[in-house]
Symmetry: C2
Subunit: 353 residues, 2 copies
Amino acid sequence: MTHSSSRKPSLGTMPTLRDVAHVAGVHPSTASRALNEATRPLVNASTVGRVLDAAEQLGYQPNSMARGLKMSRTFTAGMIVPDLTNPLFPPMARGIEDGLQGSGYTLVIANTDNDLDKERAIVEALVNRRVDGLAMATARRHHGLLQELDASGVPYVLVNRSAEHASAPSVVSDDHAGIGLAVRHLIGLGHRRIAHVAGPQQTSTGFSRHRSFRWWMDNEGAEFDPDLVVFADWFQEEPGARAMTELLDRQTTFTALVAANDLIALGCYDVLRERDVRVPDDVSIVGYNDIPFADQFNPPLTTVRIGSYEIGLKGAELLLEAIRDQEQTSMSVPIPPSLVVRRSTCAPSTGSR
Amino acid sequence: MTHSSSRKPSLGTMPTLRDVAHVAGVHPSTASRALNEATRPLVNASTVGRVLDAAEQLGYQPNSMARGLKMSRTFTAGMIVPDLTNPLFPPMARGIEDGLQGSGYTLVIANTDNDLDKERAIVEALVNRRVDGLAMATARRHHGLLQELDASGVPYVLVNRSAEHASAPSVVSDDHAGIGLAVRHLIGLGHRRIAHVAGPQQTSTGFSRHRSFRWWMDNEGAEFDPDLVVFADWFQEEPGARAMTELLDRQTTFTALVAANDLIALGCYDVLRERDVRVPDDVSIVGYNDIPFADQFNPPLTTVRIGSYEIGLKGAELLLEAIRDQEQTSMSVPIPPSLVVRRSTCAPSTGSR
DNA sequence: ATGAAAGCGCTAACAG
DNA sequence: CTGTTAGCGCTTTCAT
């Protein structure tokens, strides 16, 4: 007896349900019923035994395509991300996988590279393959694609982004609360002149974080100054660096900044380092997302943790529900953020900038 | 006219080949031939036109399950990784995706969490789903699974790991050359007492890097001292930190170290920082892999770049070949590494440790 | 050049 | 409780 009890037949000769039925001495449909958890009660216990034995003995594995064709389900879900290389997404993907776990679903992950056409092509490709559902992690605020998805009837959920016109469940970190955490942390430290390196405004996260930044600044009695807001074209290091450069070139004074995400914060690090501005001594920085390794940056980054893994986990749950029960009310589940204080923030030095 | 020329029908009413044939006024089999690149020459040009028009008009999309069932191919490839959250793998996955691009293949990525049983279960699940091929990025040196895979006849390739007993093509970074780069860099800087924080020896990469380290030390005239080698259980920060602690506790002197990968190097950073040993002033460190953000660590990490993306790209190519032509000679493609010098290495301070 | 017929492996009525 | 029948949507002989 080797490790696995059933031997693996070579692929060419994969046994089929017919083979199992034949060995068990029953009709294929009986074998099908016996093999299937749900229909098993319909068949005689001893027959079930014979079928199961036969299946075991032959190393029978159901052909998922045949089954999918018949049931018009693939037991496959798709996840659409801008770029898996962005450290924000792998934990989210793991969350989705883990959430799908046990339901028999497999996850296919596809990258769009923030390219609209590519996104459409990829979604179409997955729909062709008849994925049973989709988790969208791309962040555009308005996008015909979502309406098309609505129309097409493919169940989908939004993860880490909110819907504007779309009617789908979504799981998002509570950005408003998160930005509040960041702003209040800085104000608590004594900062008043606080800048915002905002993300792209056509994304739901970039947009809402910017709006919330303004709201919290006003509300907490710090002076919101439009001159202290710059925009990064994209949630990446390079665009963040460019935005930071622009801000510095304005010659306005500030002692702290909130970046729209950690990658943008990293871009700020780069520019500041180059110009010999010290973090946090001269400028305190708060990031957003708490990506892996944020604790290893120089200095370790104070940031808002959004729980990407949990977002994915919950997203999978909603997706499963949406698949099960097509007419679903679109709900939005907020995941509460938390602040992780590290070394990129401190009290403002008296005077200076 | 809107963006996409063909309208998307709702999923329930997806048009089939029959529908297309009906609209075009031909038999389904003719429609099939017309739609398929390969068989198109067999049918009259004007008929082809009518069929294509009909398909376009209906927004026809072939059902990949039906096609897969018939042709016993799924046009799906699987990639097995220990953990997608390890920054080494996303670029590799991108490489594979991009390499598959255009061939009509979709990639499914699955994590094993370095769990043997989980790995087996996942591979079985993918084989059940009749993936057409597999890219294995898990690094165990001997593993029954590979032989089973050999026996099962599923085409597969090894990426970033080498085969011991398996008969499959592999794409690996040339670890021997890479470690040579690291060792010679340190020796060139003037180091002689060089330690090695090795990876797990049951992995092909951990094993070969260790062996090469020894070889290069001997060969370049630095004294190889077994006391200067410690082993991390796994390629992660924590195990790296534990190994570093062990090394420090031995009280042997050294001025530099080569870590088996970047994550282990990060673990070394943590311990060294805690004990107030400065990098690189007191100890120079060279990592391995050049993961994303290695340039943002404190200090920026000198490391050996292996080109994970290229490994994936090439791996996809080999996989496609293996799928096409089942009886393939197992070849091993080496990808040349390069050294990326940053701030974690410098000449040894005279005297000290 | 096109149509007819069969079947990939499975499940789901419908009978018995 | 089990067998019969039919068909998911497609490709592919085999005829014509």
